[in-house]
């Protein structure tokens, strides 16, 4: 039975990815003409020409990366693969903004993030510095993406870019909190806090400093332009503070024995579980305030997953198996009922409000 449980846990991420793909394909089925569709920016492509041109431009930037790698090899490897990745991603970003191609933008952002991760690992090599710095840096990048996403909503032509930034930011932060709220994540976090202070590497310190300054300035600017609500501003700053504390944490022993959490472990487990729960509720609330159906649906989906995973995580070992499954069934019904009622209520409210405005 335990193997089945671990097998099911192993399947969660593939299920999430497949679920997201089905979500977008299902949306595609009921696609209208962009000029008549209020949510046109949720489409992968606005027309046949848009889709094909975006795919070719994406191919050309991939080819550019491989060409640079090939010439680099021919010339005796003067550049590291990280530098090639950085150059390609920056060129990709420029191209993405020039042609307004979301596919290139998405891969360029992934490229830049991976470049920073790989570069940070290189900076920490042969130094006994806390590896939590890498994790925190990546979380800062995700927060910056969220703030930039809201900033891009200023202009209609950047609406699709905004969605890319926002989805990347939300998924990365939710994923990180989700992971750290589990025993495995807490164990890894404990391991990452071992070592010297992050100030031992000037590159890491400078990177994190630049990222914090960027997050604060972009968020404040967006708030000034009324693109981010006060509530979102508080959320972004809270997450920035939380991850900054993680970067500066002294060594944490999360477990007393192999599987039993220590005082520190319990404290962090409470913090992460509470934070992710509040984050998802906040996202649903934000979707409701902003009248964004996609945000409500995405957050509700994550909340559903969170409740199911947490239930299995907390109750599987010490509940009788038959009671566990009956409980899981009842929980699913309750969650389903609340989600259907709540989600439908919010969507109806949004529609009636927008109809009132249009009249």
């Amino acid at each position: 039975m335990e193997y089945l449980f671990y097998f099911l846990r192993f399947l969660i991420w593939p299920i999430i990815i497949i679920g997201l793909i089905i979500f977008f394909i299902a949306r595609r089925g009921k696609k209208k003409h962009p000029s008549q569709d209020k949510e046109w920016y949720l489409s992968f492509a606005l027309s046949k020409e848009d889709a094909v041109s975006q795919l070719f431009l994406l191919l050309s930037f991939f080819f550019l990366g491989v060409t640079l790698l090939a010439f680099n090899k021919d010339l005796g490897d003067p550049l590291s693969w990280c530098t090639v990745l950085f150059i390609t991603s920056v060129v990709g970003l420029i191209g993405a903004y020039y042609f307004k191609t979301v596919y290139v933008l998405a891969f360029s952002l992934i490229g830049i993030t991976n470049w920073w991760g790989a570069q940070a690992s290189e900076w920490l090599q042969n130094k006994d510095i806390k590896t939590s710095a890498i994790c925190v840096g990546l979380a800062f990048i995700a927060l910056l993406f969220y703030a930039l996403g809201r900033l891009h909503e200023k202009e209609i032509k950047f609406k699709r870019f905004a969605l890319v930034f926002l989805v990347f930011g939300i998924i990365a932060i939710t994923g990180a909190l989700f992971f750290f709220s589990t025993k495995l994540g807490l164990g890894i976090l404990g391991g990452m806090t071992k070592g010297e202070s992050i100030f031992g590497s000037w590159q890491i310190t400078l990177s994190l400093f630049i990222l914090i300054v960027s997050i604060i300035s972009v968020t404040l600017y967006s708030t000034g332009k009324k693109l981010i609500s006060f509530f979102e501003l508080i959320a972004v700053f809270t997450f920035t503070t939380l991850f900054s504390i993680i970067a500066l944490l002294p060594e944490q022993n999360m477990f007393i024995q192999t599987n039993k959490l220590s005082g520190n472990g319990i404290l962090w487990a409470i913090i992460f579980n509470l934070t992710i729960f509040l984050e998802l509720l906040g996202l649903i609330f934000s979707g409701y305030l902003r009248k964004e159906e996609w945000l409500i649906n995405l957050s509700a989906f994550f909340l559903f997953l969170l409740i199911i995973v947490k239930y299995s995580d907390w109750f599987f070992t010490f509940l009788d198996k038959s009671i566990f499954f009956i409980g899981a069934g009842i929980l699913l019904f309750v969650v389903g009922w609340f989600m259907e009622k709540g989600r439908r209520y919010m969507l109806i409210e949004i529609k009636s409000k927008s109809e009132q405005i249009s009249q």
Binding site: H33, F56, L59, F62, V66, F71, K157, R160
Partner: protein, 230 residues
Amino acid sequence: MSDQKLANCIKNSLTQKKSKEEIYKELLNQGYGIDAIQENFNVIVSEEVKEDVSKKTIQIIVLIGAILIGAGIFSFIAANWQEMTSSIKIFIIIIAMLISYIVGWYLKEKMNLSKIGEALILLGAIIYGAGIFLIAQMFHIRANWPDGFILWMIGVIIIALAMESYPLFYLSIPLGIVAIIGHPFGIFTSLEFNSFILTSSFLLFIATIITFITGWLIHKKIPPELKKFY
């Protein structure tokens, strides 16, 4: 009963890409009743759906036909490959490719049979790709295997641009992806004594330029009513 004048009016408005609301408003102003408009709309929409289904069916049938002919030709060549001389082999490949392209172009452009014509052109593009690998194998050409896919992709893109054929563009995209995935393996696993071939680097560079130009040219064809989104 559907009024012919009303139906024509709706069809014209739909071809002008007017929204349903706009068409309704215009026709109501012209004095037509809402039931009559609704009835004609339903007739036109069901006609369009029928036409679409029929077009798609033809497309699928001829596409399967093109693939089956291609498979048959290849199985015949494969069965008799050893007995053929190199010149006959090249002759067969080139002739098969040219016939497919010419007949496909003729059917598409001159006889207005676009679906069958495009399927034959697609068959020509598949024969062209197979030809690249067969010739490389015949003459033991030393090259990295993804180069074949790049050459195939470039050829398909050129024909696609010339014919404005989207099925060919769709074919060239997976070919490019295979080359992009395949090449880094060659680059990272090549050793000093078996270095990465320089021609591959130049071919990759050409592929970068060609795919970029293609993307840019198609980008320029985006319908004008969508320009406000860019």
